[in-house]
């Protein structure tokens, strides 16, 4: 087994709303600082059959609901391979509205609806008013700070939330944020959340190392700049 972590950057042009290419850059930069070999492939064509066996991490950035519907239909054709990928504890990291891709049902404002891939047991309803705000939550003793441009409300059914809200709207104004099933992780925090929170990026890379049984001790990385950003944003939020 190779000691390289392979990331599939899914449909970078189609799932591209709020500077999310930063997440792909974060994987490259943080892995480099950790001393981990990491390769990123772009999967540009939504008609392309995805070689799920090749990848350890699949990155699905935020996209528009109308495009999510098309991608859902395309990936449904590879559902068997996708389920095998998830069963093997491989990682999917999805942000923003793209959470809908993994949901059960998506109800749109025009009263139409479509099915997601039904991997995360949750339902999605499009909002008619946008909520834009900071989003601050905790996960696994980590503070995650980001932004949220919420176009959907999410109701979790049996799936567990990914984090607990400290400030912000999260899934639907309750205290739960995102969702997680095995290593399929979804957060509403869009944009380059892994740039702002490199400790989350590091967590995902370490998870992939563990899955692949790569026994390399990662180098310790200095995150002073990002910690300063976190602290200053916390201060800003406290004053709201």
């Amino acid at each position: 087994m190779s000691n390289i972590i392979n990331v599939g950057w899914m449909y970078p042009d189609v799932l591209n709303l709020h500077g999310e290419r930063g997440n792909a850059k974060a994987f490259e930069l943080i892995a480099k600082k950790m001393g981990i070999k990491l390769n990123i492939d772009r999967i540009d064509d939504i008609d392309e059959m995805v070689d799920f066996d090749k990848y350890d991490i699949l990155l699905f950035n935020a996209g528009e609901l109308k495009n999510i519907k098309v991608i859902s239909e395309k990936l449904e054709k590879q559902k068997k391979e996708l389920n095998k990928y998830i069963k093997a504890n491989k990682i999917i990291f999805a942000t923003g509205t793209t959470g809908a891709l993994f949901a059960r049902n998506i109800e749109r404002l025009d009263e139409s609806s479509f099915n997601g891939l039904n991997i995360l047991d949750m339902d999605v309803k499009e909002r008619n008013i946008v909520i834009g705000d900071d989003l601050y939550y905790s996960f696994n003793k980590m503070d995650i700070m980001g932004s949220q441009i919420q176009m959907i409300d999410i109701v979790l059914n049996s799936v567990k939330p990914f984090g607990n809200i400290k400030y912000g709207y999260g899934n639907n104004g309750s205290n739960n944020e995102g969702a997680r099933y095995k290593n399929v992780i979804f957060t509403n925090s869009l944009g380059p959340v892994l740039v702002k929170n490199p400790w989350l990026c590091e967590y995902i890379i370490k998870l992939a190392l563990k899955n692949k049984d790569i026994k390399i001790r990662p180098k310790k990385v200095n995150y002073d700049l990002e910690i300063n950003s976190l602290e200053s944003t916390k201060e800003f939020i406290e004053k709201k």
Binding site: G63, N67, D134, V195, E226
Partner: protein
């Protein structure tokens, strides 16, 4: 009955305007607000408006400049026009414009009505004021806190367009151009490849989804970020070969370009402006306005909304570029301006929390829509990132673009420009660039003007 109420409201607000003038109070903008408050569909009852000569201008970037340029150019041709040049581009602003340009019975007294339109207000205004011309400059990400993703606005545009409208769209902007499917007639405007045209081939470069089939859009070249000759990788959607109006032979040094056989001389020139000129020429053509008048309009146009200023400060040249925060295109435009200057320089970037709408928040994600790499090179001696909350994220964006961390200085202070610009005099360059949002404009301007007096 409604018409009677309209006359009553109209007379009331006109009388209010007279009182404001007498007492030297600026109340003209309030009149539209009051009128709409008293009668929701107030603008519907004006008479004498030729809807064929109502021109709406909307889009993410350039709508104010284009509206001002269009209004100025049509006026130069001798036509009587009314416009909301103050940028009051919602229902109350339109009402104000109509109040100012009508008689006591609500009869519109101009030939053309040229209106800048807020993207979100367009649909409701078109229902009451069924203008027959819609110009869309472009449809990009902007004010995401209220506009969400571009498709949110796209749907609003789509629901505003009628089959008896003529739609004027940029042939090189995939999203807004695809609205052609909903209009009765579409006029395409375009600019040819020129010396500022560029291509992209970096691994991390991204485009957008085809608005018609959700597959990837590819660009043969770009004239501006996200605007250039494009095609979908799946369906047949692409820039048309021959647009109705195409600007060519652009000479940025001489401030000239050609359209058809005519050469135009202008006061402002960059690719953004040239698209605006192309749109204005396209609209003028529809009304048979001859090129001599258009030329005159362009030559005499002064843009009140230009966001660039240059100061002389202690022997240094300070280029101050203001951007609309949350809007990657204006940020990119500023970065491209800096990148074109090959001299040694220092770059100061002050991006703030977004406070346009409640709640205020710290959106820094749009930095990653922009290409900072162009500005990260050996000619930059120092990068200074300032503002209370966002300065660290700004610095991090520079690092992700490859900037040398040793050259970056962060000031996490709000508006203390004595500290932020404290080492400006000692910099070994005379070329200084500052990028900020609109918020600190007055304080920065005052800081450098004070410096001038001290020289």
């Amino acid at each position: 009955m409604k018409r009677l109420w309209f006359i009553f409201v109209l007379l009331g607000v006109k009388f209010g305007n007279i009182l404001c003038k007498i007492f030297n109070k600026s109340g003209t903008m309030i009149s539209g607000k009051v009128a709409v408050k008293l009668q929701k569909d107030f603008i519907k009852y004006f008479r004498g408006i030729d809807y064929n000569k109502v021109i709406f201008v909307t889009g993410t970037n350039g709508k104010s400049t284009t509206t001002n340029l269009l209004a100025h150019t049509i006026k130069e041709s001798g036509k009587k026009i009314a416009t909301n040049k103050e940028g009051a581009n919602m229902m109350s602003g339109v009402a104000t414009t109509l109040i100012k340009n009508s008689n006591l019975f609500g009869k519109f007294n101009k030939e053309f009505l040229i209106l800048e339109m807020d993207e979100r207000s367009l649909r409701n205004i078109v229902k009451l004021l069924p203008g027959k011309n819609l110009c869309i400059t472009n449809l990009q990400k902007d004010q995401v806190q209220r506009n969400g993703d571009p498709d949110f606005i796209y749907q609003m545009f789509k629901n505003s367009i009628t089959k008896d409208m003529t739609l004027f769209v940029n042939n090189e902007e995939p999203r807004s151009r695809s609205l052609e499917d909903y209009a009765g007639k579409t006029v395409y405007y375009s600019i040819e490849k020129n010396s500022k045209t560029f291509t992209k081939n970096d691994f991390y470069d991204v485009t957008l989804a085809c608005p018609k089939c959700s597959h990837k859009i590819e660009y043969e070249y770009y004239n501006i970020e996200n605007i250039g000759k494009f095609k979908c990788t799946n369906c047949n959607y692409k820039s048309v070969k021959k647009a109705n109006t195409t600007i060519k032979e652009i000479n940025y040094d001489n401030y000239t370009f050609k359209c058809g056989k005519d050469e135009y001389k202008v006061n402002y020139i960059n690719p953004f402006y040239i698209y605006n000129y192309a749109l204005v020429i396209a609209v003028c053509k529809k009304y048979g306005i001859i090129s001599e008048y258009i030329k005159k309009g362009f030559e005499t146009f002064k843009n009140p909304a230009d966001r660039r200023e240059v100061y002389k400060y202690h022997g240094k040249t300070v280029h101050y570029l203001r951007i609309k925060q949350e809007n990657p295109e204006t940020m990119q435009n500023a970065l491209d301006t800096i990148a074109r200057d090959k001299k040694k320089k220092a770059i100061y970037v002050g991006l703030y929390e977004i406070k346009d709408f409640k709640p205020a928040y710290t959106n820094t994600f749009y930095f990653f829509d922009c290409d900072f790499k162009k500005c990260v090179n050996n000619s930059v001696l120092k990068y200074v990132c300032f503002s209370k909350t966002v300065a660290y994220d700004t610095a991090n964006r520079m690092i992700y673009a490859g900037a040398d961390e040793k050259k970056i200085k962060v000031y996490d202070v709000e508006d203390d420009f004595d500290i932020i610009f404290s080492d400006l005099d000692s910099l070994k360059t005379d070329d200084i660039y500052i990028i900020t949002g609109m918020k600190p404009y007055k304080k920065i301007k005052a800081f450098f003007e004070k410096g001038d007096k001290n020289e």
